[in-house]
C-alpha cells in the first residue's frame, strides 16, 4: 500500500478500492482528495543516466515524508519534480490531482515553499525583503507584508526587530537557515519542500533547528517533503520515511517500522545510530 496514509486505511474509499484487484495500489494509486502529491511510475533519465527508476508514492495532506538515501540516490531529483524544476522523462507527477506539466509552473511554485541546503538568500536584500519576496511578487498590500514578515520571524524564533534590516552576510548560519524557512513559509504555501535543510549547520544547531521545525510543522499542518541523508533527522521529522537507493524507492516506512525494519539497508542506517547508543552505554 505504497502511499496510503494511515488515516485512510479504513476509509470507505480505501476499502472499496482494495476490493478491486485491478485498482490495486501498485498499478494505480487510488486518488483521494487527501492526496496532495503523487508520483506514478516516474522515470528520469539525464544523458543516458537513469536517475529515477519507476518511482511511485504519494503524500497525504499534513504528512511529512522524508526521502532518505545516500548521495546520488535520486532524492533531490524526485523533490525537484514536485515544483517542476524537473519534468519526468516518463510517468506522471501530480500535485493536488493535477499533472505538474498542466500547472502553470510559476503558479505551482508560488504555492510550494522551497528550502535548499545552501539557502540561497538574496545577498542584496535585507532579511525583511528576503522573507517578503513572494508576498511582494503577489502584490500583497504593504502593511500586510510587514505584519507577515514579523509573524514569520517570530515563527522561526528570530525575535527582535533588529533582524529585519540586517543583510544575510550579517547573520550566523543557523539564523540564515531560519530566514530561509521563514521565506519559504511567508506566502503560506500548502506544501513545503526541503532539500537537506539543516545539512550545512553544526550538529548542535542542527538538533535545535530540527526540534523547533518539528514544533512549527505540527502547528502549521503543512504537507512537507524533506530530503536528507541523516537518519536522525528522518526519524525526528518524518511521519513517513521513504528509503531511496539507486533511483528507486526501496520502501516507505513509518518511523516505528523503520527502527525495527529487517531490510538490510534500513538496518544499516539504524546501525549508524546504535553507534551512539553504544558509546553512551560504555560511559
Amino acid at each position: 500500500m505504497i502511499g496510503a496514509p494511515d488515516v485512510l486505511a479504513s476509509s470507505p474509499v480505501r476499502l472499496f478500492v482494495s476490493r478491486m484487484p485491478w485498482m490495486n495500489s501498485q498499478t494505480l494509486p487510488a486518488f483521494s482528495p487527501q492526496t496532495v502529491i503523487e508520483f506514478r511510475h516516474v522515470n528520469y533519465t539525464l544523458s543516458k543516466r537513469e536517475l529515477l527508476n519507476d518511482v511511485s508514492f504519494s503524500v497525504a495532506r499534513g504528512e511529512t515524508l522524508v526521502l532518505l538515501g545516500r548521495s546520488g540516490a535520486g532524492k533531490t531529483t524526485a523533490l525537484k519534480m514536485i515544483n517542476r524544476l524537473l519534468v519526468p522523462s516518463s510517468g506522471e507527477v501530480l500535485v493536488e490531482g493535477k499533472l505538474t506539466t498542466e500547472w502553470n509552473p510559476i503558479a505551482l511554485r508560488r504555492k510550494i515553499g522551497y528550502v535548499i541546503q545552501d539557502i540561497g538568500l538574496f545577498p542584496h536584500y535585507t532579511v525583511a525583503q528576503n522573507i517578503s519576496l513572494i508576498p511582494r511578487l503577489e502584490r500583497w498590500p504593504a502593511d500586510r507584508v510587514q505584519r507577515r514578515v514579523r509573524e514569520m520571524l517570530q515563527t522561526v524564533g528570530l525575535h527582535g526587530r533588529t533582524f529585519e534590516h540586517r543583510y544575510p552576510h550579517q547573520l550566523s548560519g543557523g539564523q540564515r537557515q531560519r530566514v530561509g524557512v521563514a521565506r519559504a513559509l511567508a506566502a503560506d504555501p500548502d506544501i513545503l519542500l526541503m532539500d537537506e535543510p539543516f545539512g550545512a549547520l553544526d550538529p548542535m544547531t542542527r538538533g535545535e533547528m530540527q526540534n523547533e521545525f518539528k514544533a512549527v510543522e505540527r502547528h502549521l499542518g503543512k504537507t512537507v517533503v524533506i530530503v536528507t541523508h541523516d537518519v536522525g533527522e528522518a526519524l525526528v521529522l518524518g511521519t513517513r520515511i521513504g528509503l531511496m537507493e539507486a533511483g528507486k524507492i526501496v520502501r516507505i516506512y513509518s518511523p516505528h517500522d523503520f527502527v525495527h525494519a529487517s531490510d538490510p539497508m534500513a538496518a544499516a542506517y539504524m546501525a549508524q545510530l546504535r553507534v551512539y547508543d553504544e558509546a553512551k552505554g560504555e560511559k
Partner: protein, 211 residues
C-alpha cells in the same frame, strides 16, 4: 614658451577639443552599453551564441584602430560624416569588455540564489531584473570602466579621419614636430582617462554586492 604658458594661451581651443572628445566618448559609451549589455545577457541565455558573439567582439578588438577607421570609410551612411564613423568604430572596440563582463557577472551569481529564486516561482524576467542584474552591476561596471578608458585613448586616433577631439593636437604636433602641441592633446586625454577610471571605480565599489 613653457608648456604652461602654451596651455594658458590656448586654453579655449584645448577646452573645445576636450569637449569634442568627451562627446565622442560619451556617445560611444551610450551605444556600447545599449548594445553590449543585452548581448551579454543573451550570451548567458543562449550558450550557443556565446562563441559567435564573443568571437566577433574579439575579432573587432584585434583590428588596428587606424585600419578600422579606414575599413568603415566606404560604408554608406557611416562614411558620410567623420563623427559617425568614429563613434561606430569606437563602439566596436568598447563592446568586448562590456559583453564579457555582463555575462561574467550574471554567470557569477550564486547557483543557490538562482535556484531558490526559480524554485520560489520567480519568472525569468523577475530573476533577471531583481536578482541577476542587481548582483552583477559591479562586474558590469568594471567592464564599462575598462571600455571607457580604452575609448578615451583610441578616440585620439579618430582625429585621423577628421572627427576632432584631442587627437587633433596630437596629429598636428606630430606633423609639425611640436612637442607642446602633442602634450596639449595627450595631457588632457590622460587626465580624462584618469577621471573616468576613478569615478567609475568608486561607483563600482559602491555597487559591489555584500557577501
Amino acid at each position: 614658451m613653457s608648456p604652461i604658458e602654451f596651455f594658458l594661451r590656448h586654453h579655449r581651443e584645448i577646452l573645445q577639443a576636450t569637449l569634442e572628445h568627451v562627446w565622442l566618448v560619451g556617445l560611444t559609451m551610450i551605444f556600447a552599453i545599449a548594445i553590449g549589455v543585452p548581448l551579454g545577457i543573451l550570451v548567458t541565455r543562449k550558450p550557443w551564441l556565446s562563441k559567435p558573439i564573443l568571437g566577433g567582439a574579439n575579432i573587432a578588438e584585434t583590428i588596428p584602430s587606424l585600419a578600422l577607421f579606414g575599413f568603415l570609410l566606404p560604408v554608406p551612411w557611416l562614411g558620410g560624416r567623420a563623427d559617425r564613423l568614429a563613434i561606430a568604430a569606437l563602439t566596436l572596440y568598447a563592446l568586448l569588455p562590456i559583453i564579457r563582463n555582463t555575462s561574467a557577472g550574471i554567470s557569477g551569481v550564486d547557483r543557490a540564489v538562482r535556484e531558490a529564486a526559480r524554485g520560489m516561482g520567480m519568472t525569468d524576467r523577475q530573476i533577471l531584473f531583481q536578482v541577476e542584474l542587481p548582483l552583477s552591476f559591479s562586474t558590469m561596471l568594471a567592464g564599462i570602466r575598462i571600455a571607457a578608458v580604452l575609448t578615451i585613448g583610441i578616440a585620439t586616433i579618430a582625429a585621423a579621419v577628421g572627427a576632432g577631439g584631442l587627437g587633433e593636437f596630437i596629429f598636428r604636433g606630430l606633423a609639425m614636430v611640436n612637442d607642446q602641441l602633442i602634450l596639449a592633446g595627450a595631457i588632457p586625454a590622460a587626465l580624462l582617462a584618469l577621471v573616468a577610471d576613478s569615478v567609475l571605480g568608486v561607483l563600482e565599489r559602491r555597487l559591489r554586492p555584500v557577501r
